[in-house]
Protein backbone atom coordinates (compact mmCIF):
# COMPACT_ATOMS: atom_id res chain seq x y z
CA UNK A 1 0.00 0.00 0.00
CA UNK A 2 1.80 3.16 -1.21
CA UNK A 3 2.17 6.01 1.25
CA UNK A 4 1.94 9.75 0.74
CA UNK A 5 5.34 11.33 0.11
CA UNK A 6 5.15 13.11 3.45
CA UNK A 7 8.51 13.76 5.03
CA UNK A 8 8.23 11.94 8.34
CA UNK A 9 8.76 8.24 7.96
CA UNK A 10 10.38 5.66 10.13
CA UNK A 11 11.86 2.37 9.04
CA UNK A 12 11.70 -0.88 11.00
CA UNK A 13 14.77 -3.09 10.66
CA UNK A 14 14.77 -6.90 10.95
CA UNK A 15 17.38 -9.65 10.97
CA UNK A 16 15.85 -11.68 8.15
CA UNK A 17 13.18 -11.78 5.49
CA UNK A 18 11.18 -14.24 7.59
CA UNK A 19 10.71 -11.63 10.28
CA UNK A 20 9.82 -9.00 7.67
CA UNK A 21 7.14 -11.30 6.28
CA UNK A 22 5.74 -12.02 9.72
CA UNK A 23 5.71 -8.30 10.54
CA UNK A 24 4.01 -7.43 7.28
CA UNK A 25 1.24 -9.87 8.10
CA UNK A 26 0.83 -8.41 11.59
CA UNK A 27 0.61 -4.87 10.22
CA UNK A 28 -1.93 -5.89 7.57
CA UNK A 29 -4.06 -7.60 10.23
CA UNK A 30 -4.06 -4.38 12.24
CA UNK A 31 -4.58 -2.15 9.20
CA UNK A 32 -1.46 -0.09 9.83
CA UNK A 33 -0.23 1.60 6.65
CA UNK A 34 3.25 0.51 5.66
CA UNK A 35 5.49 -0.27 2.72
CA UNK A 36 8.21 -2.85 2.22
CA UNK A 37 11.34 -1.09 0.98
CA UNK A 38 14.95 -2.02 0.24
CA UNK A 39 16.89 -1.39 3.45
CA UNK A 40 18.88 1.85 3.20
CA UNK A 41 22.45 0.63 3.30
CA UNK A 42 23.53 3.30 5.77
CA UNK A 43 21.03 1.94 8.33
CA UNK A 44 21.72 -1.80 8.30
CA UNK A 45 23.18 -4.74 6.45
CA UNK A 46 21.10 -7.30 8.34
CA UNK A 47 18.21 -7.86 5.95
CA UNK A 48 17.81 -6.31 2.51
CA UNK A 49 14.14 -5.51 3.09
CA UNK A 50 12.69 -3.23 5.75
CA UNK A 51 9.29 -1.80 6.56
CA UNK A 52 8.62 1.92 6.20
CA UNK A 53 5.73 3.52 8.05
CA UNK A 54 4.48 6.92 9.20
CA UNK A 55 6.27 8.28 12.22
CA UNK A 56 2.86 8.97 13.76
CA UNK A 57 2.22 5.20 13.78
CA UNK A 58 5.28 4.33 15.81
CA UNK A 59 3.39 3.23 18.93
CA UNK A 60 0.84 1.04 17.10
CA UNK A 61 3.67 -0.54 15.09
CA UNK A 62 5.70 -1.33 18.21
CA UNK A 63 2.58 -2.71 19.86
CA UNK A 64 1.72 -4.86 16.83
CA UNK A 65 5.18 -6.36 16.49
CA UNK A 66 6.23 -6.57 20.15
CA UNK A 67 6.95 -10.13 21.24
CA UNK A 68 5.75 -11.56 17.93
CA UNK A 69 8.73 -10.93 15.70
CA UNK A 70 12.37 -9.99 16.00
CA UNK A 71 12.57 -6.25 15.54
CA UNK A 72 16.14 -4.96 15.51
CA UNK A 73 15.54 -1.22 15.51
CA UNK A 74 13.33 1.62 14.35
CA UNK A 75 15.17 4.48 12.69
CA UNK A 76 14.23 7.65 10.85
CA UNK A 77 14.01 7.04 7.13
CA UNK A 78 16.93 8.86 5.54
Amino acid sequence: MPLDPDPEYLVALFPSITQVMRSERLLIERRIAHQLVPTPRRLSSECGVSIRFLAADRDPVVQALGGRTTLLDIRPMP
Binding site: S16, I17, S45, G48
Partner: protein, 381 residues
Protein backbone atom coordinates in the same frame (compact mmCIF):
# COMPACT_ATOMS: atom_id res chain seq x y z
CA UNK B 1 -7.31 -46.53 -15.69
CA UNK B 2 -4.22 -46.40 -13.52
CA UNK B 3 -4.57 -47.32 -9.87
CA UNK B 4 -1.70 -45.73 -8.04
CA UNK B 5 -0.85 -47.42 -4.74
CA UNK B 6 2.71 -46.16 -4.32
CA UNK B 7 2.01 -43.04 -2.29
CA UNK B 8 4.66 -43.99 0.27
CA UNK B 9 7.26 -43.47 -2.46
CA UNK B 10 5.65 -40.27 -3.68
CA UNK B 11 2.05 -39.19 -3.85
CA UNK B 12 0.24 -39.08 -7.17
CA UNK B 13 -1.79 -37.51 -8.58
CA UNK B 14 -1.26 -34.08 -7.08
CA UNK B 15 -4.00 -31.53 -6.44
CA UNK B 16 -4.61 -29.22 -9.40
CA UNK B 17 -4.03 -26.28 -7.07
CA UNK B 18 -0.45 -27.47 -6.50
CA UNK B 19 0.34 -27.37 -10.19
CA UNK B 20 -1.43 -24.02 -10.64
CA UNK B 21 0.58 -22.53 -7.77
CA UNK B 22 3.83 -23.61 -9.40
CA UNK B 23 2.81 -22.22 -12.79
CA UNK B 24 1.72 -18.97 -11.13
CA UNK B 25 5.06 -18.70 -9.39
CA UNK B 26 6.95 -19.16 -12.63
CA UNK B 27 4.74 -16.83 -14.66
CA UNK B 28 4.14 -14.01 -12.19
CA UNK B 29 6.68 -14.17 -9.36
CA UNK B 30 9.96 -15.88 -10.10
CA UNK B 31 12.13 -13.66 -7.87
CA UNK B 32 14.71 -14.91 -5.41
CA UNK B 33 13.13 -14.77 -1.92
CA UNK B 34 14.85 -12.44 0.50
CA UNK B 35 17.71 -11.58 -1.80
CA UNK B 36 16.55 -8.29 -3.25
CA UNK B 37 14.23 -5.51 -2.22
CA UNK B 38 12.10 -5.47 -5.37
CA UNK B 39 8.53 -6.58 -5.81
CA UNK B 40 9.18 -10.02 -7.29
CA UNK B 41 11.72 -10.94 -4.64
CA UNK B 42 9.31 -9.87 -1.91
CA UNK B 43 6.45 -11.79 -3.54
CA UNK B 44 8.64 -14.91 -3.59
CA UNK B 45 9.47 -14.40 0.09
CA UNK B 46 5.75 -14.21 0.85
CA UNK B 47 5.22 -17.56 -0.85
CA UNK B 48 7.98 -19.19 1.18
CA UNK B 49 6.74 -17.62 4.42
CA UNK B 50 3.14 -18.68 3.78
CA UNK B 51 4.23 -22.29 3.27
CA UNK B 52 6.33 -22.12 6.44
CA UNK B 53 3.31 -20.83 8.37
CA UNK B 54 1.08 -23.60 7.04
CA UNK B 55 3.58 -26.23 8.10
CA UNK B 56 3.82 -24.75 11.58
CA UNK B 57 0.04 -24.94 11.82
CA UNK B 58 -0.06 -28.49 10.49
CA UNK B 59 2.68 -29.78 12.81
CA UNK B 60 1.67 -27.88 15.93
CA UNK B 61 4.80 -25.70 16.10
CA UNK B 62 4.45 -22.56 18.20
CA UNK B 63 6.27 -20.47 15.60
CA UNK B 64 7.11 -20.99 11.94
CA UNK B 65 10.68 -19.94 12.76
CA UNK B 66 11.09 -23.53 13.94
CA UNK B 67 10.42 -24.87 10.42
CA UNK B 68 13.47 -25.34 8.18
CA UNK B 69 13.25 -26.21 4.49
CA UNK B 70 15.57 -28.73 2.87
CA UNK B 71 15.52 -30.69 -0.38
CA UNK B 72 13.90 -33.70 1.28
CA UNK B 73 13.58 -35.53 4.59
CA UNK B 74 16.89 -37.31 4.00
CA UNK B 75 18.80 -34.04 3.90
CA UNK B 76 17.09 -32.89 7.09
CA UNK B 77 18.00 -36.18 8.82
CA UNK B 78 21.59 -35.70 7.74
CA UNK B 79 21.61 -32.23 9.31
CA UNK B 80 20.46 -33.76 12.58
CA UNK B 81 22.86 -36.71 12.59
CA UNK B 82 25.91 -34.74 11.48
CA UNK B 83 25.06 -31.61 13.42
CA UNK B 84 23.98 -33.15 16.71
CA UNK B 85 26.09 -36.27 17.27
CA UNK B 86 29.77 -36.17 18.23
CA UNK B 87 32.29 -38.98 18.71
CA UNK B 88 31.62 -40.64 22.05
CA UNK B 89 27.89 -39.84 22.00
CA UNK B 90 25.49 -42.75 22.23
CA UNK B 91 22.45 -42.81 19.95
CA UNK B 92 19.45 -45.11 19.74
CA UNK B 93 17.48 -46.06 16.64
CA UNK B 94 14.54 -48.39 16.16
CA UNK B 95 14.93 -51.63 14.24
CA UNK B 96 12.45 -50.36 11.63
CA UNK B 97 14.35 -47.33 10.36
CA UNK B 98 14.65 -46.37 6.72
CA UNK B 99 18.12 -46.02 5.23
CA UNK B 100 17.60 -42.25 5.33
CA UNK B 101 18.33 -42.69 9.05
CA UNK B 102 20.40 -45.86 9.12
CA UNK B 103 23.03 -44.82 6.58
CA UNK B 104 23.88 -41.50 8.25
CA UNK B 105 23.92 -43.29 11.62
CA UNK B 106 26.19 -46.07 10.34
CA UNK B 107 28.55 -43.42 8.95
CA UNK B 108 28.43 -41.64 12.32
CA UNK B 109 29.36 -44.94 13.93
CA UNK B 110 32.51 -44.96 11.80
CA UNK B 111 33.37 -41.56 13.30
CA UNK B 112 33.09 -42.82 16.86
CA UNK B 113 29.39 -42.37 17.66
CA UNK B 114 28.05 -45.38 19.54
CA UNK B 115 24.87 -46.77 17.99
CA UNK B 116 22.36 -49.16 19.51
CA UNK B 117 19.58 -50.44 17.26
CA UNK B 118 16.63 -51.33 19.48
CA UNK B 119 14.78 -54.36 18.10
CA UNK B 120 11.08 -54.06 17.29
CA UNK B 121 8.32 -56.66 17.46
CA UNK B 122 7.61 -58.81 14.40
CA UNK B 123 4.80 -56.35 13.65
CA UNK B 124 7.33 -53.52 13.58
CA UNK B 125 6.40 -51.90 16.89
CA UNK B 126 9.00 -50.31 19.16
CA UNK B 127 8.36 -51.07 22.83
CA UNK B 128 9.33 -48.12 25.07
CA UNK B 129 10.44 -50.65 27.71
CA UNK B 130 13.07 -51.95 25.27
CA UNK B 131 14.22 -48.40 24.64
CA UNK B 132 14.46 -47.79 28.39
CA UNK B 133 16.74 -50.83 28.76
CA UNK B 134 19.03 -49.54 25.99
CA UNK B 135 19.51 -46.08 27.53
CA UNK B 136 22.86 -45.48 29.19
CA UNK B 137 24.88 -42.50 30.39
CA UNK B 138 25.81 -40.48 27.31
CA UNK B 139 22.72 -41.42 25.29
CA UNK B 140 22.01 -38.26 23.36
CA UNK B 141 19.26 -38.99 20.88
CA UNK B 142 16.61 -41.50 19.85
CA UNK B 143 15.79 -41.73 16.14
CA UNK B 144 12.46 -43.31 15.37
CA UNK B 145 10.05 -43.12 12.49
CA UNK B 146 6.49 -42.06 13.20
CA UNK B 147 5.19 -44.79 10.91
CA UNK B 148 7.11 -47.50 9.12
CA UNK B 149 7.42 -47.08 5.38
CA UNK B 150 7.22 -50.89 5.09
CA UNK B 151 4.37 -51.91 7.39
CA UNK B 152 2.77 -48.58 8.31
CA UNK B 153 3.24 -49.42 12.01
CA UNK B 154 2.69 -46.32 14.13
CA UNK B 155 5.21 -45.81 16.92
CA UNK B 156 4.23 -44.73 20.46
CA UNK B 157 5.66 -41.22 20.20
CA UNK B 158 4.17 -39.80 23.37
CA UNK B 159 5.55 -42.60 25.55
CA UNK B 160 8.90 -42.35 23.79
CA UNK B 161 8.96 -38.57 24.32
CA UNK B 162 8.26 -38.94 28.03
CA UNK B 163 10.96 -41.57 28.32
CA UNK B 164 13.49 -39.60 26.29
CA UNK B 165 12.97 -36.37 28.19
CA UNK B 166 13.25 -38.14 31.50
CA UNK B 167 16.81 -38.99 30.48
CA UNK B 168 17.75 -35.77 28.67
CA UNK B 169 17.57 -37.50 25.27
CA UNK B 170 16.49 -35.69 22.09
CA UNK B 171 13.56 -37.40 20.34
CA UNK B 172 14.17 -37.26 16.58
CA UNK B 173 11.16 -38.36 14.54
CA UNK B 174 11.07 -39.28 10.87
CA UNK B 175 7.54 -38.33 9.81
CA UNK B 176 8.04 -39.02 6.11
CA UNK B 177 5.03 -41.37 6.03
CA UNK B 178 2.72 -39.41 8.31
CA UNK B 179 3.07 -35.66 7.81
CA UNK B 180 -0.15 -34.78 6.02
CA UNK B 181 -2.15 -37.94 6.73
CA UNK B 182 -1.79 -38.57 10.48
CA UNK B 183 -2.28 -35.79 13.06
CA UNK B 184 1.03 -34.52 14.45
CA UNK B 185 1.52 -32.16 17.38
CA UNK B 186 5.23 -31.55 17.93
CA UNK B 187 4.64 -29.23 20.88
CA UNK B 188 2.02 -31.30 22.68
CA UNK B 189 3.89 -34.58 22.10
CA UNK B 190 7.27 -33.18 23.04
CA UNK B 191 9.14 -33.92 19.82
CA UNK B 192 12.58 -32.31 19.62
CA UNK B 193 13.31 -32.79 15.93
CA UNK B 194 10.86 -33.89 13.26
CA UNK B 195 11.71 -34.55 9.64
CA UNK B 196 9.14 -34.28 6.85
CA UNK B 197 9.06 -34.73 3.13
CA UNK B 198 6.94 -32.47 0.97
CA UNK B 199 6.16 -34.83 -1.88
CA UNK B 200 4.27 -37.58 -0.10
CA UNK B 201 1.17 -36.97 2.02
CA UNK B 202 1.75 -33.22 2.05
CA UNK B 203 0.89 -33.25 -1.68
CA UNK B 204 3.82 -31.07 -2.70
CA UNK B 205 6.32 -31.58 -5.50
CA UNK B 206 9.49 -33.64 -5.28
CA UNK B 207 12.49 -31.67 -4.07
CA UNK B 208 10.71 -30.25 -1.02
CA UNK B 209 11.07 -31.27 2.61
CA UNK B 210 12.45 -30.05 5.88
CA UNK B 211 12.43 -30.31 9.61
CA UNK B 212 11.04 -28.88 12.81
CA UNK B 213 13.51 -28.01 15.57
CA UNK B 214 12.36 -27.42 19.12
CA UNK B 215 13.08 -23.76 19.91
CA UNK B 216 16.56 -23.46 21.41
CA UNK B 217 17.81 -26.76 20.02
CA UNK B 218 19.49 -24.95 17.12
CA UNK B 219 22.31 -24.10 19.53
CA UNK B 220 23.16 -27.84 19.67
CA UNK B 221 22.73 -28.73 15.99
CA UNK B 222 25.39 -27.45 13.61
CA UNK B 223 24.24 -26.65 10.08
CA UNK B 224 25.24 -28.95 7.24
CA UNK B 225 25.39 -26.32 4.50
CA UNK B 226 26.80 -22.83 4.98
CA UNK B 227 26.48 -19.84 2.68
CA UNK B 228 24.39 -16.90 1.63
CA UNK B 229 21.05 -16.38 3.31
CA UNK B 230 20.10 -12.86 2.23
CA UNK B 231 20.64 -11.78 5.83
CA UNK B 232 23.68 -10.33 7.65
CA UNK B 233 25.37 -9.82 4.30
CA UNK B 234 28.18 -7.78 5.81
CA UNK B 235 29.43 -10.77 7.81
CA UNK B 236 31.24 -13.88 6.63
CA UNK B 237 30.01 -15.97 9.56
CA UNK B 238 26.83 -18.03 9.33
CA UNK B 239 23.77 -16.48 11.04
CA UNK B 240 22.80 -18.32 14.20
CA UNK B 241 19.10 -17.47 14.13
CA UNK B 242 16.28 -19.54 12.73
CA UNK B 243 15.59 -20.47 10.03
CA UNK B 244 18.54 -18.84 8.22
CA UNK B 245 21.05 -20.91 10.18
CA UNK B 246 20.05 -23.96 8.09
CA UNK B 247 18.83 -22.37 4.86
CA UNK B 248 21.85 -21.28 2.85
CA UNK B 249 21.60 -20.84 -0.88
CA UNK B 250 18.60 -20.10 -3.05
CA UNK B 251 15.65 -22.15 -1.84
CA UNK B 252 13.32 -24.20 -4.02
CA UNK B 253 10.76 -21.42 -3.99
CA UNK B 254 8.73 -22.77 -6.88
CA UNK B 255 8.57 -26.13 -5.11
CA UNK B 256 7.54 -24.44 -1.88
CA UNK B 257 4.79 -22.61 -3.79
CA UNK B 258 3.47 -26.03 -4.80
CA UNK B 259 3.94 -27.43 -1.31
CA UNK B 260 1.94 -24.58 0.20
CA UNK B 261 -0.94 -25.28 -2.17
CA UNK B 262 -0.68 -29.01 -1.44
CA UNK B 263 -0.96 -28.35 2.28
CA UNK B 264 -3.92 -26.03 1.69
CA UNK B 265 -5.65 -28.95 0.02
CA UNK B 266 -5.14 -31.01 3.17
CA UNK B 267 -6.11 -28.27 5.59
CA UNK B 268 -9.30 -27.77 3.60
CA UNK B 269 -10.28 -31.38 4.25
CA UNK B 270 -8.82 -31.58 7.75
CA UNK B 271 -6.09 -34.04 8.74
CA UNK B 272 -8.41 -35.86 11.14
CA UNK B 273 -10.91 -36.48 8.34
CA UNK B 274 -8.15 -37.63 5.99
CA UNK B 275 -6.89 -39.99 8.66
CA UNK B 276 -10.35 -41.49 9.24
CA UNK B 277 -10.89 -42.05 5.54
CA UNK B 278 -7.47 -43.58 5.03
CA UNK B 279 -7.94 -45.87 8.05
CA UNK B 280 -11.25 -47.11 6.63
CA UNK B 281 -9.67 -47.90 3.25
CA UNK B 282 -6.61 -49.50 4.88
CA UNK B 283 -8.87 -51.73 6.97
CA UNK B 284 -10.78 -52.69 3.82
CA UNK B 285 -7.50 -53.64 2.16
CA UNK B 286 -6.31 -55.62 5.19
CA UNK B 287 -9.56 -57.57 5.46
CA UNK B 288 -9.60 -58.27 1.75
CA UNK B 289 -6.01 -59.51 1.77
CA UNK B 290 -6.78 -61.78 4.72
CA UNK B 291 -9.43 -63.48 2.56
CA UNK B 292 -7.04 -64.27 -0.30
CA UNK B 293 -5.41 -67.64 -0.03
CA UNK B 294 -1.62 -67.60 0.03
CA UNK B 295 -1.33 -63.93 0.98
CA UNK B 296 0.54 -63.03 4.19
CA UNK B 297 0.27 -59.49 5.53
CA UNK B 298 3.24 -58.15 7.52
CA UNK B 299 2.60 -55.59 10.22
CA UNK B 300 -0.03 -54.84 12.85
CA UNK B 301 -2.99 -55.93 10.67
CA UNK B 302 -5.10 -53.24 12.33
CA UNK B 303 -5.60 -49.93 10.53
CA UNK B 304 -5.95 -47.97 13.77
CA UNK B 305 -2.32 -48.82 14.56
CA UNK B 306 -0.98 -48.07 11.09
CA UNK B 307 -0.59 -45.40 8.48
CA UNK B 308 -2.00 -46.32 5.07
CA UNK B 309 0.92 -48.58 4.16
CA UNK B 310 0.35 -52.33 3.78
CA UNK B 311 3.06 -54.90 3.03
CA UNK B 312 2.36 -58.47 2.03
CA UNK B 313 3.79 -61.52 0.34
CA UNK B 314 2.20 -64.13 -1.91
CA UNK B 315 3.17 -67.78 -1.43
CA UNK B 316 5.25 -69.16 -4.25
CA UNK B 317 5.70 -65.81 -5.98
CA UNK B 318 8.37 -63.16 -5.53
CA UNK B 319 7.27 -59.65 -4.61
CA UNK B 320 8.66 -58.31 -7.87
CA UNK B 321 6.68 -60.86 -9.91
CA UNK B 322 3.48 -59.97 -8.06
CA UNK B 323 4.03 -56.21 -8.50
CA UNK B 324 4.94 -56.75 -12.14
CA UNK B 325 1.78 -58.76 -12.79
CA UNK B 326 -0.39 -56.14 -11.10
CA UNK B 327 1.22 -53.41 -13.20
CA UNK B 328 1.26 -55.23 -16.53
CA UNK B 329 -2.15 -56.85 -16.38
CA UNK B 330 -4.18 -54.32 -14.39
CA UNK B 331 -2.19 -51.05 -14.40
CA UNK B 332 -2.09 -51.22 -10.60
CA UNK B 333 1.14 -49.61 -9.43
CA UNK B 334 2.69 -50.91 -6.20
CA UNK B 335 6.26 -51.24 -4.98
CA UNK B 336 8.07 -54.54 -4.44
CA UNK B 337 11.33 -55.19 -2.63
CA UNK B 338 13.06 -53.77 0.41
CA UNK B 339 11.77 -50.17 0.26
CA UNK B 340 15.20 -48.83 1.30
CA UNK B 341 14.69 -50.32 4.75
CA UNK B 342 16.75 -53.50 5.18
CA UNK B 343 16.59 -53.17 8.98
CA UNK B 344 12.81 -53.25 8.85
CA UNK B 345 12.78 -56.36 6.67
CA UNK B 346 15.19 -58.11 9.03
CA UNK B 347 12.75 -57.30 11.83
CA UNK B 348 9.82 -58.67 9.85
CA UNK B 349 11.71 -61.73 8.60
CA UNK B 350 11.24 -60.67 4.97
CA UNK B 351 14.89 -59.93 4.19
CA UNK B 352 16.26 -60.15 1.46
CA UNK B 353 13.23 -60.74 -0.79
CA UNK B 354 11.12 -57.98 0.69
CA UNK B 355 7.39 -57.53 0.24
CA UNK B 356 4.80 -56.02 -2.05
CA UNK B 357 3.75 -52.67 -0.67
CA UNK B 358 0.45 -50.93 -1.30
CA UNK B 359 0.40 -47.37 0.02
CA UNK B 360 -2.69 -45.21 0.00
CA UNK B 361 -3.05 -41.50 -0.62
CA UNK B 362 -5.62 -38.78 -0.40
CA UNK B 363 -6.93 -39.64 -3.87
CA UNK B 364 -7.20 -43.41 -3.29
CA UNK B 365 -10.80 -44.61 -3.55
CA UNK B 366 -12.73 -47.60 -2.25
CA UNK B 367 -13.10 -48.73 -5.85
CA UNK B 368 -9.29 -48.71 -6.18
CA UNK B 369 -8.98 -51.03 -3.20
CA UNK B 370 -11.73 -53.40 -4.34
CA UNK B 371 -10.27 -53.60 -7.86
CA UNK B 372 -6.82 -54.32 -6.43
CA UNK B 373 -8.19 -57.09 -4.22
CA UNK B 374 -10.01 -58.69 -7.15
CA UNK B 375 -6.86 -58.51 -9.23
CA UNK B 376 -4.76 -60.11 -6.52
CA UNK B 377 -7.32 -62.86 -5.97
CA UNK B 378 -7.14 -63.68 -9.66
CA UNK B 379 -3.36 -63.87 -9.92
CA UNK B 380 -1.92 -67.38 -10.21
CA UNK B 381 0.10 -68.32 -7.16
Amino acid sequence: MTIYLDNAATSWPKPDAMMRAMCHFNEHIGGNPGRSGHRLSIDAARVVFDTRERLALLLGAASSDAIVFTRNATEAINVAVLGLLKPGDHVLASGMEHNAVMRPLRAAQQRGVQLTVVPCSPQGWLDPADVARAIRPGTKALFVLHASNVTGTLMPLRELADLAHGHGIQLCVDASQTAGCVPIDVTGTGIDLLFFTGHKALNGPQGTGGMYLRPGLEAEVAPLILGGTGSRSEYEEQPEFMPDRYESGTPNAIGLAGLGAGIDHLLGQGIAAIRQREMRLTQLLLEGLADIQGVTVHGPGDASRMAGVVSFGVDGTSPSDTACALADRFDILTRPGLHCAPAAHRTLGTFPMGTVRCSLGVFTTEADIRTTLRALAGLPS
